[in-house]
Symmetry: C2
Subunit: 676 residues, 2 copies
C-alpha cells in the first residue's frame, strides 16, 4: 500500500513537472556574443532564434522539410534529447587569406522525434561562434525514412530589424552573373546566397551555406516582413534532393558582425567544412598566370578554329615567353581543343577534351613551358554539357597529368536552358547549375583531378561553400560577373561592382575575377576603372590563382604599373580589412605568405574618397619601403582612368596614410620590409 | 545584261528593305483602349508589351519556356506568320452574376519558328479586349517536340509604373488561406494569382489566368523593378507540366480598368474559357443552404463519431426541418461518412465515401429531405488524399445520384505536406494543390459529377480560372480564408478581409465563403463585423450557392435580420459595382434573375464611411420598397456589432441614398419592385 502511494506521488510529481511547453533550449557562443534559442511550439513545430548581446537578430524561424513521397516533417515533434559540445580547433590553411584559422564554437544538437506515426527522427545541429551561426539537419538512419526525397526545405530566416540588402536574383537565367541589387529587404524577390544585409542598427548579416555536398543549393525567398525561406534549386527528376539516410544537409549560415569589414574577416564558412581529405597538398600551388583569353573577349582572335584561332602554337609560345620573363607560373589557353563550333555555347556536344586543334601542338608547348619554368593551364569548356564531359573526364585529366599540367579551368556556359546531364532514364535532362546533379558533378571533377594532383578553377560553377578546406585543389571559381563583362557586357561592370563583390560573392570564397586590365580598354568600350584600381584588385579580391588578364603587349607598354602585378603574391599569411562599406569602398591589407612584405589594396565606387588608414598591421619597429600606386590628380574613371602616380616612401607601423581615391579609383601599395 | 542589272537592282532593293529588326506587330482592342505589341529582338527573343490609350502599361516582357529534357525555347525565333481575327460573341450564363456576357475582342496569332536546329514552332495567341488582355502559348504538333516537359514558363509581366499590390504568398503552406498583403509591388515576394495592382496613376490591373486545364498553376515571382515572372507550381515527378503536343497553355490574363470597380465588372476570365460542354444544364440549381458545419467549428459537435457526433440523424432532421421552414434548398452535412479519425486531416487514408456512420441514416434522411422539398448536400472530405478518393469516386457519386443528392462539397485539407496522389511509379507522391496532377483531378471529379447531374463545390481547391463556363456544374469553391477563420483563426478575419476578397480572390470566380453568422460569435472570440455587414456579404461575395452559416437557433433568435437571408437570391441577371476601393469598401447592386427585385450590399473595413449611392440601376419610373438593413447608431465591430436598424422606404431610380456604414460594418437593401 505504501508502495502504491509512493508510486502515485511519483506519478503526480511527474505530471506536475511535465511542462505544457518546454522552455527554450539555449546555446551561447564562446564569448557570449550570440545566443541561439531552440524550442518546439504547442503544435510540435521546431523553431530557432538568434540574439546578439541580448537583442534579437533572427526572430523565431521555422525548421523542417516537405517530401515528394512522405508526409512533411515540420511539426508533431518532441525533443527527444539534446547534447552539447564545445570546440576550439584552430587549423592551418595550406593556402589562403590567412595561414591560421581560429575555430571556436559551442555546439548544440537537438534530437527531434515525431510524436505521431511513423515517429521519424531528425537532428538539428547548431554551431555558435561569436561572429556567426551555422546549423544543419541530420537525417539518422531509420526504418521509417530510409530514402529522403526532399520537395522543399522550409528553413526560415526571420530578420528582426529593418535592413538594406545586397543581392542577386535566383532562377533568372541559370547563371550567377548579375549586377547586385541594393534594396530594402522587403524588396528582395528570390535571392542567391550569399545575401548580405545591413540592419537599421548597423549590424551586418550575411546568409549563405557551407559544405554543399550531394544536395541542392539554397536560395532565399522573401516571405515579407523580413522573413526569408529556403528555396532549394530544382531537379529535372522530381525531388530537389534525393539521398539515402543517414546524411547531413549543408550548413545554413549567418555571418554576423558590427561592421562590413567584420563580415570579410569571418571564417565561418570554412570552419563548417570538413578538414582536408587530400592529405599532403603541397602540390597545390598558388600562382599568377597569363593567358590566351582576353584577346578572344576583345574579338581579336577566336576560340574556334580558323585564320584568327587564338590557341595557335606561335601565339601560345609568345605567351609562355612572356610568362617566363615576368615571373608568371601559368599560361591559360582557351579554345585549344576540338568542338568550338560556332554554336558551341548552345550544345557542347562536339567537345573533345583530349584532341587538340592541329595548329596547337600541345605536347611541344607543354614541354616548352616546363623548360621555361612555366605550366600550361588546362581548359575544359563543357558548355554545361556534362553528359559529354563526364565520360571523357578521366582521359582528359590523364592527358594533363602526363603533360605536367597541374591546373584546369572548367567552364559551364549553359545557354540552352540548363546544364545537360544524363538522367536516370538515360536521356538528356536539363538541370540548374546549383542543383544536386551539379553538386555531385563538381565534386567528381575535383576528386578525379586530385587523384592526378591537378587543381580546379570552375567557371559558371556551383556556388562556393568553403569546400576548398576539404578539397584544397579546388582553388577558385567564378560565380559572379567577372572582367569579361568589361569587354562586352551591357552594361559593363560599374565602379561599385567590386565593392559589392567583396561583401557578397567573396564571402563564399576565392573568385577568379581575372583583374589587371590596365589598358582599360574593352571591346569598343572603356573599363569603368582607373589603373590604380586594377592593381588594387589583386589584394582586394582574394584568389590563390590570379590572372594578369590584359594582353602582353599592353603590359609591355606600361611597365611601371605592371611591376605591381609582377610583385604581388597570390598567397597570404594574414589578412586585415581596414575599412569598408558594402558597395562603397574597402581597404584590405594582406601579408605575403613567403616574406615579411605586406600589400594593401583600396578601391572605391563612383565616389572619390580619402581614406585614413593606420599602418598598425606592420611589424612594430620595422621599416618598410611603401611602393605606392595611387590615382593621379586627374584620375577619374569617366574621363581619365590612366592617370597614376607611382612613388615610394619609408613608413613604420606608427604611421598613417591618407589614401586618396579618384572616382572609380583605387590604390595599391607594396610594403617591402627592411632587413632587421 | 539588262536582265542582270534588273536582278541586281531588285536584290539591292530587297537588301535595303530587309529591316535589321522587324517593326513590332500590333493589335488593338475593339474600342482602341488597349494595344498589344509583339516583336522579336535581335537575339530572336519574342516579347510583348501593352499600352492603354497611348501609355505603356506593361513594358516589354519576355515569353518562352525551359524544358527538363530539351533546349529552352525563348530565342533564335523568327516570326513565321501572323493571323488576325475579330470576334463579338455575346453569350448567356446558365447562372451567374449577370445573364448576358459581352465577349468582343481582337485576336492576333504569332507563329514563332526557331531559326536554328531543331526548328521548333510555338504560337502565341493574344486576345485583346477593351478591359483586358489574355494570351496563351500553343504547341503545335511537330516531330521535333512531340512531348513537352516544361521545367519553367518564363513569361514575364513588367509593370511599367510604380504600384501598390494586394497579394497572398505562393508556396507557403500549400493552401490559399492567407490574409492579403498590401505592399509596394517592389515588396511582393512570390504571389498567387489573382494579384491586384493599383498604379501610381490610379490604373487597376489584376494578373491571373483562365482555363487552367491539364497544366500547372501560375504564380508570380517579383524580379525587381516592377517585373514579375511566371513560376509554375512544382510536380513531385520532375517537369512541372508534361503534355503531348498539340496543346495550349492556360491564358495569362491582365484585367485593366480605371477603377477598382471596373475590375469586378470584368468578364475576361470567363470569356477566355471554352463555352459550355455539358449541354442543357438546367439541372444545375443556384440555391442557398444550411448545414451541420458551423457547430463543429465552434466545437459544439464533432466531425468524427462519438457522443457529440454532429452528423446524427436527429440533428440532421432538425436542420432539414429548419431549411424547409425557411426556404433553403440545401442541407450540408459534414462528418457523415466513415474515416473521420482523430487525425483524419493528417492522412485521409480511412475515408469511405459510401459508408455512413451508424447514427446517420443517409437513406432515410435523403428521403425525408426530398419529401420536404429539400436536398441533402453531399460532402467528400479527402484530406487531400486523392489516391484514396479517386478509386471511390464513381461509386460515391452513384450513391448521391441514387439518393437525389445533386451537389457535393469536396474538401482537400492536406496537412501532411501536400496532396497525396499515386505517382507513375505506383507509390504515393505529395503534390501541390495547384499542380498539374490536381488540375486533372478536379476536372475528373467535375466531369464525373456532371455525368450524374451533380454540382461541385470544392474547398481547399485548385484556383478558379473560369472553368464554370465550360463546366457549369462547377458552381463554387473556396480558395481563400472563409468564415471558419472567424471561429478559430488566429487572427480572425479582419474587417478589411472581405473588401480585399472582392478585388482579388473574387476576380477568379464564385467563392463559397459561407457568410451570415449574425450571432457574431466564434469559438471564444468575436467576429469582427456587424450584423448588417453579414447580410451585405450575400450580395457582395458572389456565389450561386450561398450558405446561411450560423446555427439555426441563432437565426430563430434573430428573425428580423434573418429575413434578408431568406429573401436574398443566389442567382442574378445583372450586377453593378457602384463604388469601391481595394481593401477599403465596396457597394454592389444585383438584380434577381427571377424577379424585378434588386439587392444592394455595401461593406467597409475598419473605417466607418458614408457612401453616396445613386439608385439609377433601378428601372426608371418604377417604385420600389427599399427594405434597408443598416448599422445602427451605436454599431461598431469592436464594441457592438449587433446594433442594426431595419426600416423600409419607397424609392425610385431618381433617388440617392447615403449609406452610413459603421466601423467594420455594412448595409444590405432589398428593393422590392412594385407592380406596374
Amino acid at each position: 500500500m505504501l508502495q502504491m502511494i509512493r508510486m502515485l506521488i511519483a506519478l503526480a510529481a511527474a505530471l506536475i513537472a511535465a511542462p505544457t511547453l518546454a522552455a527554450p533550449i539555449q546555446v551561447a557562443s564562446p564569448g557570449g556574443v550570440l545566443t541561439v534559442s531552440v524550442d518546439v511550439n504547442p503544435d510540435g513545430r521546431p523553431g530557432y532564434s538568434v540574439s546578439r548581446l541580448g537583442r534579437v537578430v533572427i526572430a523565431p524561424s521555422r525548421l523542417g522539410f516537405l517530401f515528394t513521397d512522405a508526409p512533411k516533417l515540420e511539426r508533431n515533434f518532441t525533443i527527444g534529447g539534446e547534447s552539447r559540445r564545445s570546440a576550439d580547433e584552430p587549423w592551418e590553411q595550406p593556402w589562403g587569406e590567412r595561414r591560421f584559422v581560429c575555430n571556436r564554437y559551442n555546439e548544440l544538437r537537438i534530437q527531434l522525434t515525431e510524436k505521431v506515426t511513423p515517429g521519424r527522427r531528425l537532428d538539428v545541429v547548431f554551431r555558435v561562434y561569436d561572429d556567426g551561426v551555422g546549423f544543419r539537419y541530420e537525417f539518422p538512419q531509420q526504418a521509417s525514412l530510409p530514402q529522403v526525397n526532399i520537395a522543399e526545405e522550409i528553413t526560415e530566416f526571420a530578420v528582426a530589424d529593418a535592413a538594406t540588402a545586397w543581392w542577386i536574383p535566383a532562377f533568372q537565367w541559370n547563371r550567377e552573373e548579375y549586377l547586385y541589387n541594393k534594396t530594402a529587404i522587403t524588396e528582395v524577390g528570390i535571392a542567391q546566397t550569399p545575401m548580405t544585409l545591413r540592419t537599421a542598427n548597423g549590424l551586418h548579416i550575411a546568409f549563405h551555406e557551407a559544405a554543399l555536398v550531394d544536395y541542392s543549393g539554397m536560395n532565399l525567398q522573401n516571405e515579407g516582413h523580413g522573413r526569408f525561406r529556403a528555396v532549394l534549386t530544382p531537379s529535372s527528376e522530381g525531388a530537389k534532393v534525393k539521398r539515402a539516410a543517414p546524411f547531413a544537409t549543408p550548413w545554413r549560415t549567418m555571418q554576423i558582425a558590427d561592421s562590413a569589414a567584420g563580415l570579410v574577416m569571418n571564417d565561418l564558412i570554412l570552419n563548417l567544412n570538413e578538414p582536408n581529405r587530400l592529405g599532403d597538398v603541397r602540390w597545390v600551388k598558388p600562382f599568377k598566370y597569363v593567358g590566351v583569353w582576353w584577346e578572344m573577349h576583345l574579338d581579336k582572335s577566336t576560340w574556334g578554329p580558323g585564320p584568327r584561332h587564338g590557341a595557335n602554337t606561335a601565339n601560345v609560345r609568345r605567351h609562355i615567353d612572356f610568362a617566363a620573363s615576368n615571373g608568371f607560373r601559368g599560361v591559360l589557353v582557351e579554345g585549344w581543343n576540338e568542338g568550338w563550333n560556332d554554336d558551341w555555347f548552345a550544345s557542347g556536344k562536339d567537345f573533345s577534351f583530349t584532341k587538340a586543334y592541329p595548329d596547337f601542338d600541345i605536347e611541344e608547348l607543354a614541354r616548352y613551358a616546363r623548360s621555361k619554368g612555366v605550366r600550361l593551364i588546362g581548359h575544359h569548356e563543357t558548355a554545361g554539357n556534362i553528359a559529354v564531359y563526364e565520360p571523357q573526364l578521366e582521359a582528359a585529366l590523364d592527358l594533363y597529368q602526363r603533360l605536367g599540367i597541374d591546373a584546369v579551368k572548367t567552364g559551364y556556359v549553359a545557354d540552352m536552358g540548363g546544364v545537360q546531364a544524363r538522367g536516370a532514364d538515360g536521356r538528356i535532362h536539363y538541370e540548374w547549375h546549383e542543383g544536386q546533379v551539379m553538386a555531385r558533378h563538381h565534386l567528381k571533377v575535383v576528386t578525379e583531378a586530385a587523384k592526378r594532383r591537378i587543381a580546379v578553377n570552375a567557371h559558371e560553377p556551383i556556388k562556393d561553400t568553403g569546400l576548398r578546406r576539404t578539397y584544397p585543389n579546388w582553388v577558385a571559381r567564378e560565380g559572379a560577373r567577372g572582367m569579361e563583362f568589361n569587354a562586352w557586357g551591357q552594361p559593363p561592370n560599374p565602379p561599385e561592382h567590386e565593392a559589392n563583390l567583396v561583401f557578397t560573392r567573396m564571402l563564399a570564397g576565392p573568385m577568379d575575377f581575372t583583374p589587371g586590365v590596365i589598358s582599360l580598354e574593352g571591346k569598343g568600350q572603356k573599363i569603368q576603372s582607373t589603373i590604380a584600381k586594377q592593381l588594387a584588385l589583386y589584394v582586394v579580391l582574394y584568389s590563390p590563382i590570379q590572372m594578369a588578364a590584359d594582353l602582353p603587349e599592353n603590359y609591355e607598354a606600361n611597365p611601371k604599373p605592371f611591376q605591381f602585378i609582377k610583385d604581388v603574391p597570390a598567397d597570404w599569411s594574414e589578412t586585415r580589412v581596414l575599412n569598408g562599406e558594402v558597395g562603397d569602398f574597402v581597404t584590405i591589407a594582406r601579408k605575403d605568405r613567403k616574406s615579411e612584405n605586406w600589400y594593401l589594396g583600396a578601391i572605391t565606387d563612383e565616389q572619390g574618397r580619402v581614406l585614413d588608414v593606420a599602418l598598425s598591421f606592420l611589424t612594430p619597429g620595422r621599416k618598410y619601403r611603401a611602393q605606392i600606386y595611387r590615382d593621379g590628380p586627374a584620375a577619374d574613371y569617366r574621363t581619365n582612368g590612366k592617370d597614376i602616380v607611382i612613388e615610394e616612401r619609408v613608413v613604420t607601423s606608427a604611421d598613417r596614410l591618407m589614401l586618396q581615391l579618384a572616382p572609380g579609383g583605387g590604390q595599391a601599395i607594396r610594403f617591402v620590409a627592411s632587413e632587421r
